[in-house]
Amino acid sequence: MTDLLAIGTRKGLWLARSDDDRRTWTVDGPHLLAQEVAAVSIDTRLPSPRVLAGIQYGHWGPTVMWSDDLGGTWNESDHGAIRFPEDTGAALARVWQLRPDTADRPGVVWAGCEPHSLWRSTDGGCSFELVRGLHDHPHRPTWQPGGGGGAVHTVLPDPASDRVTIAMSTGGVYVSEDGGEKWEPRNRGITVIFGPDPLPEYGQCVHKAAVDAGGPDRLYAQNHFGVFRSDDAGGSWTSIAAGLPADFGFPIVSSPITPGSAWVVPLVADMQRVPPDGRLRVHRTRDAGETWTELGDGLPDDAWVAVMRDAFCADDHDPTGLFFGTRDGCVYASRDEGESFTLIADHLPDVLAVRAARVP
């Protein structure tokens, strides 16, 4: 098996491969040169792994492209994989998230997009249908765009039930228990600093959310100020930011295999989106946020860069591998859960999304 890392950047996609258990990597690209790749995924449920990319042609608009030969050729549907129905009067602005569902739901891929919308594909990402239950939610007209635009950027389908959890900037966390028909906000305890009510029912700027390996009811959220945990599927949230040097940041990644393990990359603040003192560091918890440990072996000082919400991921090895990219085009990999990192690519365009998988 080969470890494959897909790296989406502001100006194309790169693919990194390792054939020695993630010790060394070769990087090829660019694929999709000059196209912004804000969302990427590797669907390993198919006989040939499919790389899905949410791209923006720049002048020529956004769409979803896919490759069934690991970047050799790329496809797109003539009429666009994601098109808002005519009655909505909306137009797709950006694909923010592509999330293949479980092996038990072959062909199902979820997409989170801008403007705020959730989409579901049953043909592996070649075409998507708007999830009307969310689109018709009475809250939708009041969701606001964050600095990057108003989007559903996180989609977390539960493999064992019909629950789907999403996160939006801004809008917060919403959950459907019936596969997408009905939705309710679940943000109690997540604070905001940009509105008169510090604890609104919804409208939070959740930057990223993740599910703990121990069970579907435990969630983590990196917020626009604040890091939170829920132990009741988003019903209530408590701060787990104590012990971090800053509670601002974009990604939060949970271990796929180890309950209680998660990682963040703190930045100073919204008005200062750089690591504290310019030291690029990952922070890890082993106890669901009760304590945090700074990890910096192999990471640079004097690095005034941010890590975007989807530019950090974990693989499914044991021990877990971690991968993240920066806005100055560096990509770091760890094969030991963050104990040490290795620079595997640099001088790329701004890294927007990374995803890892094992492929034949």
């Binding site: 720049g58 002048h59 020529w60 608009g61 098109r83 808002f84 009067g89 137009a91």
Partner: protein
């Protein structure tokens, strides 16, 4: 009637490699022309317009040399022999 469409090189591949297309149009506006173009070349059509039918923000359409954004927009008339040019605007980074 027939309208001549001039494409930038980057879009020509989506229309069989030709930068110059002769498009048969049933109506008499830029909207009619772009719809006819999209029916014949769906990928090309999506590069120029979004799903609401609006010309994308950084795409400019000229009718006999005039930018339709500053004339009649999609309702700008076209006639037999009109030359319609599609160009990317100055944008990017």
């Amino acid at each position: 009637m027939t309208v001549q469409v001039v494409l930038p090189g980057v879009l020509a591949d989506l229309a069989g490699g030709s930068k110059h297309l002769n498009v048969e149009v049933a109506g008499d506006t830029v909207a009619d022309l772009l719809e006819a173009l999209a029916v014949e070349h769906p990928l090309l059509g999506r590069r120029i317009r979004d799903e609401t039918g609006h010309v994308r923000r950084f795409v400019n359409v000229y009718v006999d040399g005039d930018d339709v954004r500053f004339s009649g927009g999609l309702a700008t008339p076209v006639a037999d022999g009109t030359v319609v040019q599609v160009l990317p605007s100055v944008a990017g980074g």
